[in-house]
């Protein structure tokens, strides 16, 4: 490589600053509990349950995110600008909502007395206090920005390639699956990972909408919050555990998804 000039120092410096911003708190957290404590936690039934529910919920949220989120993003990126604006703002709104507000809004919409309450009751569905509610909370928080960001990725594709595929006889859905998706693959995988990560850390909305019942709706994040009130060191340790599990998960996802060629 070339000799680093001031610009490269700026790039590297920015990177290091941000790395520090992340590493310091994470390091401090990890240092706050001993490996023994962490190992101990893994023997705790309630902790294991919480891990199970966390993984289960974020796993259950994955198919709808991909199944509806990706086509919605693709559709959005193909709309004309005027029609996009409103939709884009709609997708950005949930980001703004503090967790309590999001949880409340979910209750107001899907709760027993909520907007859809009677409808859901009619088909015998009760969402709050169920795993389904955890999943819906994740979907509500995670999907909109997932869609918005994937649409940015689809925007950056070379439109000619899609035209070329059409002319080779690909129907629009074949174009989507065989050209657009694979071309945007790297970015989409990254977005999916980030959506999963966000889902794992979700707290406020889940606790309000889904409640906090160990073994049923208590995710690791809720367990941490609960522990924090009675036994802060345990909360620290649980936080470290969550980080380590996520690290493993993020690493594993990287291993199983062979990266496509950089377009």
């Amino acid at each position: 490589m070339r000799r680093p000039g001031p610009f490269h120092l700026y790039l590297a410096g920015s990177g290091m600053l941000i790395a520090l911003l992340i590493l310091l708190p994470i390091g401090a957290l990890l240092l706050a509990s001993s490996p023994m404590e962490l190992a101990h936690l893994l023997g705790d039934h309630e902790v294991l349950q919480a891990i199970r529910i966390t993984l289960l919920a974020s796993l259950l949220a994955l198919p709808p995110i991909l199944l509806f989120g990706l086509p919605a993003a693709y559709g959005l990126s193909r709309l004309d600008r005027r029609r996009r604006r409103g939709l884009e703002m709609l997708l950005e709104l949930p980001l703004v909502m503090p967790p309590v507000v999001a949880g409340l809004a979910l209750l107001l919409a899907f709760g027993r007395r909520g907007l859809l309450g009677d409808l859901l009751a009619g088909v015998g569905l009760r969402l709050p206090f169920t795993l389904a509610a955890v999943v819906i909370a994740i979907l509500f928080i995670v999907t909109p920005s997932f869609v918005r960001r994937c649409s940015l990725l689809f925007d950056s594709l070379d439109h000619r390639l899609e035209e070329a595929a059409l002319l080779l006889g690909a129907t629009p859905h074949q174009v989507f699956f065989r050209v657009s998706l694979p071309l945007a693959r790297r970015g989409l995988v990254a977005e999916t990972i980030m959506a999963q990560a966000q889902g794992i850390g979700l707290f406020g909305a889940v606790i309000l909408f889904a409640g906090n019942l160990p073994g049923r709706t208590q995710t690791l994040s809720l367990a941490i919050y609960s522990a924090f009130e009675s036994d802060p060191p345990r909360a620290f340790a649980l936080g470290s555990l969550l980080l380590l599990i996520s690290l493993l998960l993020l690493g594993a996802v990287r291993l199983v998804t062979p990266r496509g060629p950089k377009p």
């Binding site: 409340l104 209750l107 107001l108 709760g111 027993r112 007395r113 909520g114 709050p128 206090f129 606790i207 309000l208 889904a210 409640g211 906090n212 019942l213 160990p214 709706t217 208590q218 809720l222 919050y225 609960s226 522990a227 924090f228 009130e229 009675s230 036994d231 802060p232």
Partner: protein, 238 residues
């Protein structure tokens, strides 16, 4: 003079009012109130948060700071009783706590790891030990629990929104205007667990105004404010 009070969120209303009244009487003192969960506050104080007075909703958090030598000897400033809160719709069906055992009821309680939940668990233990109530009934009641919230107000919110039929909360939670839509039902047996709110002056803070404010809370105007918001006087004992 500035008085920085770190107080448990459940004291938001009465302390807000008390601060106003106290401020009127002591124009020289500026009160800054900071409300959060007791343990949050404790963690912040441990990490060097600038506080003069700490009022917690649980002895755990206070004990933590005591051990660290960050606070002076704590004293209780109020008590709070557990009540059964029932939504207006269910007021007919749930007349006494015993009715909670009915299958299909949606009951919300506190997580045992937070104070309200710890008290609730003790309450259930007492009830189970009470022959008049019965362990079987308590088991049935526990079966109806759909959520163990980490915040009392989350229980209240779920009742207000009609998501749950009944919840176990503090007496003080039913005094807010919004809670008028809820009906309180007292628990029968005499020896009920009672929540206590310990307060302590921080060793590293501005001690004089903190002590004076604590003293004010013990005067009739202070206790009156607390009472109006559903709190009981501190009484005595641990």
């Amino acid at each position: 003079d500035e008085l920085r009070i770190f107080a448990a969120s459940s004291l938001t209303e009465p302390l807000g009012e008390a601060a106003t009244v106290y401020g009127d009487r002591h124009p020289g003192v500026r009160i800054r109130l900071h409300f959060a969960g007791s343990q949050t506050l404790a963690a912040q104080i441990e990490q060097g948060a600038p506080a003069d007075l700490f009022i917690a909703a649980s002895q755990d958090a206070m004990a933590r700071l005591e051990r660290a030598g960050l606070v002076e000897q704590p004293a209780f400033i109020a008590r709070n009783r557990l009540v059964l809160a029932v939504t207006a719709d269910m007021a007919e069906q749930i007349r006494t706590p015993a009715d909670l055992a009915r299958p299909g009821l949606l009951l919300v309680v506190g997580n045992p790891q937070v104070p309200i939940g710890a008290y609730t668990r003790r309450l259930f233990e007492r009830l189970a030990g009470d022959p008049g109530f019965g362990a079987a009934r308590v088991a049935a009641i526990r079966n109806n629990v759909v959520s163990e919230e980490t915040q009392v107000k989350a229980i209240v919110a779920k009742l207000l929104l009609g998501e749950a039929d009944a919840g176990i909360v503090y007496q003080s939670d039913l005094t807010a205007p919004a809670a008028r839509r809820l009906v309180g039902r007292a628990f029968p047996c005499g020896d009920l667990p009672v929540a206590r709110y310990p307060a302590a002056v921080l060793t590293g803070g501005n001690r004089r105004p903190a002590r004076e404010f604590l003293a004010f809370l013990a005067t009739p105007p202070g206790t009156d404010i607390m009472r109006r918001h559903g709190f009981l006087p501190p009484g005595d004992g641990p």
